[in-house]
């Protein structure tokens, strides 16, 4: 399936774009997606952490992604 990701902060710099489209296996978990991304963008491995948000909520590692999910990478937040 095709997934579309939004990127912010340091992940936007690592990927070089604020959006990323990629092809994933038809059943892909959050953890699987992260592994896929870390292979493609090794610098993601250097981050303190990187969460995944689906439809504005933090998603668990075993969450199964869907093609229409609004997915975003959430590197360590630093608001305030």
């Amino acid at each position: 399936m095709k997934l579309k990701l939004s990127l912010f902060g340091i992940t936007k710099e690592i990927v070089g774009s604020s959006e990323l489209e990629l092809t994933a296996p038809d059943t892909q978990s959050v953890a699987g997606l992260m592994e896929q991304l870390r292979t493609q963008y090794p610098k993601l491995r250097d981050l303190t952490s990187c969460a995944v948000a689906v439809n504005s909520e933090y998603a668990a590692d075993d969450y199964q992604l869907h093609e229409r999910d609004e997915i975003a990478l959430i590197p360590p937040v630093s608001g305030g």
Binding site: S6, F8, G9, I10, K12, E13, D46, L47, T48, A53, S56, E57, Y58, A72, I74, P75, P76, V77, S78, G79, G80
Partner: protein, 138 residues
Amino acid sequence: MLIELTDQPIDVAATIAAVEAEGAGAVNAFIGTVRNQSTGRPVVRLHYEAYDAMAVHQMRLVAEQAQEKWPMLQKIAVVHRKGTLEIGHVAVVVAVSTPHRAESFAACQFIIDTLKKVVPIWKKEEFEDGQVWVAAHP
């Protein structure tokens, strides 16, 4: 409940006024401003980037959690700025009102502490000789 993410300067007085309530004897407000240094290095300015929709949603969730933990909370305001901020500029204001003062401190502190953990806003510190995304790397 006032929840806002803005690229305009935050009106601190208006944000605090938004939590006034006749049943509230106490208002606590936290105001986060841009410091002139970070771990000893002089900071020139800050750049805040946000995942807008999720940030507003998460700010609201934090406020709702506070309301649940402190049912006596009268009103809550959480306003965060994004974009480029100079030294002294206000980055965030949290204000709450409660009947008595102890809960106003506890609830306000809970909101800002939690906000800093969960709300998808990222801060890039600009120094004379480079820029760093705060907390990105160990």
